[in-house]
């Protein structure tokens, strides 16, 4: 699992950064995007659907920021 800090960045930037960094993890591994933009909750699962990756759910960082996990599939 590798973390990707997108705090303070507004959509579509967190999704663009996720696309830039998905190749940093191996297939079957997870990248965890910390993003406080409310649109990320919608757009990260939608990106996974469009790109064929698995959206692996939402958790919370110690500072309360939502963390969206994506499992690379392709």
């Amino acid at each position: 699992m590798i973390p990707l800090d997108q705090r303070g960045r507004r959509c579509p930037l967190p999704v663009i950064e996720l696309a830039r960094h998905i190749g940093d993890v191996g297939i079957g591994e997870i990248i965890a995007v910390a993003a406080d933009d409310p649109a990320a909750r919608l757009d990260i699962p939608a990106w996974c659907r469009m790109r064929g990756h698995d959206y692996a759910g939402e958790t919370e960082a110690p500072d309360g920021t939502p963390v969206y996990s994506v499992r690379r599939r392709t």
Binding site: R10, C11, P12, V15, I16, A19, P38, D43, M50
Partner: protein, 376 residues
């Protein structure tokens, strides 16, 4: 030629309405509650407008009232419908994709001690009639729009109305996007609509309540409009609204077929010429004039400004275009991509040529906004 593709937000005044407005400003200025000649002329004009609107909406004239906006009509329908059913219960059932005016009325109801239940929608933005029906037991009021203002998907209003009738729950339907374009599904108890969405003047809403519906005004008492809407009636605007509605209803079938074919063309062309686009809303069971899509990696506000520079007016449900910086609650409820979002809505002045010009510039604008993002 018109690059104005935001009919769902509001339309320019229909020529029939402009003519009626001028005449009614001269003839309908007096107080329709007065018994002298000028007052009686105003009353006649207002009653004529009421009859025309009632006829198109499938209501009786005494069931129709004019108010200040579609938003006010929906607020009065919801809060008055709940007040009239207070002895039965306090729970309001509504879909997750209702217009914000309905959701804000629901919030006020909850803040005052009532309760509200939101029924989820599927990926196309539609509620399941069975799931909506299951939420109705013991409900005080239900609210379901005829069709969604952001994605065009029609709701199963007739089926939900039948379920409401079985359980004795009145149904409010927000017909703001379909009134004058499509027949209103049967079975509603309360209806709200907005004149400037059909080519009437701004500042006119329509509230209709079926005879026998329990409704109590949430506002201080006033004798105007059968006690439903307070304040001096805007007779000239009501007359203009009725003239526009009569005119658009007369051409509604032909216009729906024409615009629906243009929407199909936009849907197919956008999907074919813009990479990584998510076209949202139901492909066939939808309003005839409206289409929404989201472009991956594109900022909705920038896209809107670029289209404006090319002479096209559209709207967007992306968070960057909202004052609250949150994505549209409709897109959220559907679980679809929210950034790079564009809503295109057509009207009687939209030509095939306008649509083709839009479709010609869109791929280049999106590609330009994605510069540096190739291969992602």
């Amino acid at each position: 030629m018109s690059g104005y593709l935001d009919a769902a937000a509001g339309l320019p005044l229909h020529p029939a309405a402009a003519e009626a407005l001028t005449a009614a400003l001269a003839d309908g200025w007096a107080d329709p509650a007065r018994l002298y000649g000028a007052g009686r002329r105003s009353r006649l004009l207002l009653d004529g407008a009421r009859e025309a609107v009632a006829d198109v909406l499938g209501a009786r004239p005494d069931e129709v009232t004019f108010c200040a906006s579609g938003t006010q009509a929906a607020q009065l329908a919801i809060l008055g419908g709940l007040a009239g059913r207070r002895r039965v219960g306090t729970r309001l059932v509504h879909s997750a994709v209702e217009h914000s005016c309905v959701l804000h009325a629901a919030e006020q109801h909850v803040a005052a001690g009532g309760s509200a239940q939101s029924v989820p929608v599927d990926r196309d933005g539609r509620v399941d009639a069975g799931a909506f029906a299951a939420a109705l037991d013991g409900a005080a009021l239900a609210s379901l729009m005829t069709a969604n203002h952001e994605v065009g998907t029609r709701q199963p209003v007739a089926a939900v109305a039948a379920a409401c009738r079985e359980r004795g729950v009145p149904l409010h339907t927000d017909a703001a996007q379909s009134a004058g374009r499509e027949p209103i599904p049967p079975g509603w108890s309360l209806l709200s609509a907005s004149a400037h969405k059909w080519g009437g003047p701004p500042g006119v809403g329509v509230l209709a309540d079926r005879t026998g519906t329990r409704w109590r005004s949430p506002l201080p008492a006033d004798e105007r409009e059968h006690g439903r809407v307070p304040g001096f009636e805007n007779v000239p605007s009501a007359v203009a609204a009725a003239a526009a509605l009569r005119a658009v209803a007369a051409e509604a079938d032909a216009e729906a077929a024409r615009l629906s074919a243009l929407v199909d063309r936009i849907r197919a062309t956008v999907a074919a010429t813009v990479p990584d686009v998510e076209v949202v809303g139901h492909p066939t069971d939808r309003l005839p004039h409206l289409l929404t899509f989201s472009c991956l990696y594109v900022d909705g506000e920038t896209l809107l400004h670029q289209l404006d520079r090319h002479g096209f007016a559209v709207s967007s449900g992306s968070s960057c275009t909202s004052s609250t910086l949150t994505p549209s609650h409709v897109l959220e409820a559907m679980g679809v991509l929210s950034h790079g979002n564009v809503r295109v809505s057509l009207h009687r002045d939209t030509t095939a040529d306008d649509v083709d010009r839009f479709l010609a510039v869109l791929p280049g604008i999106v590609a330009e906004l994605r510069t540096g993002l190739e291969g992602l």
